[in-house]
Subunit: 247 residues, 2 copies
Amino acid sequence: MIIVFVGTAGSGKTTLTGEFGKFLDENEKRVAYVNLDTGVRVLPYTPTVDVREHITVEELMKKGYGPNGAIVESYDFLIDYLDEYIEKILKLEKEYEYVLIDTPGQMETFLFHDFGVKLMENLPNPLVVYLFDPTILRKAHDYCFVRFFALLIDLRLGATTIPALNKIDLIRDLEKTKRYLEDVEYLSARLELDSSMQGLLAYKLCKFLPEVSPSVRVLYLSAKTRSGFDELETVAYEHYCTCGDLT
Amino acid sequence: MIIVFVGTAGSGKTTLTGEFGKFLDENEKRVAYVNLDTGVRVLPYTPTVDVREHITVEELMKKGYGPNGAIVESYDFLIDYLDEYIEKILKLEKEYEYVLIDTPGQMETFLFHDFGVKLMENLPNPLVVYLFDPTILRKAHDYCFVRFFALLIDLRLGATTIPALNKIDLIRDLEKTKRYLEDVEYLSARLELDSSMQGLLAYKLCKFLPEVSPSVRVLYLSAKTRSGFDELETVAYEHYCTCGDLT
């Protein structure tokens, strides 16, 4: 089965890919790693497939590109090798129990570039894990934001996407965070107190969540403590067996 | 009034900032430019405020960071100067008719980093223009995606956000594109034909759009032909006068 870790730069995709893979490996699972990040320098795992064999951000910068231009250009370049990557990953999927895919450092490169979108279209029933960082959760409407953001990733990549709060070892009151993320009634009541235009927007969106995304699970992960690793394995297994219905 | 251009790397923020500024200037408006991109090399305008005075991605890379790490680190560094930037921009807002803000090359840096979110919280009634590229519109559900993405930017940045299709000089059938973006009934009918899980999700989201975002305008822009510049000026003016109600 294929698990794809998606998230903004710094959300912990690479570290989690390595640590979750190690965890699976210790549980006698056969694991293969795919690195799609042209900008990463050091990986904590050994990738079987690695886009840096074709191109890196840093070599493009040496040719005169700025960092943003080099990131985009690297995936423009990789588009010509898309079929090759699809074929390689499909082969891994047959040979290994788990294929863990670590995506570009900048999430938007994966979501908004044809390389990411077309790759995903051609993989058999991949599970996307959308990693977000506790630091982005400051206000009530931020919780609404991440829930909808997961839905938009699902829509954009055409793949079941499960939101996962990462780095939970950094959180003091995890129960409160969980309530905000999972209890829509509770969150709505808090959003109702915010009379700004954005408060109203969040309230409307939040009220609509149960209809559009009935009882989606949220994962709580930490690469440091391996919290939530069992549950991630279970979710992936269930996803594989039920073909995408995680409700 | 403050106009903030937001969009993924390559969506044309910088070029548009420069060209729209030139347009305003030719129409005898007083325009100031703010560059928030630590990764840009060359700008087509002269910024009055420029984050590169404090830090650049490339100098961090010389110190050993990879490109993704350097981008994140540059804004971690800038957080210490946040008050200074807010003050500078507020001063510009008093002295100029238009303050055009060009945001980080990677959109997620602005949306997910405290530097961007807190800066926006402290600006008086800024108008966000969310630029997206025609290349991301391939399927019916991509149109639903961009409409909701604009809502999420609005929510995250706490500022009225108007979706703007950029580079329309590249589009063959603009009328068809407009219909997909603006006519929810038309789009829903097309989404109904897609029986995949993502088709169903897009259909539900799309049906809900009029309730959460009644008659939001979409702009159609081109820095090459200056298409839509008059309308952008009008929208900005109306936003300024009505304090955020663009319906």
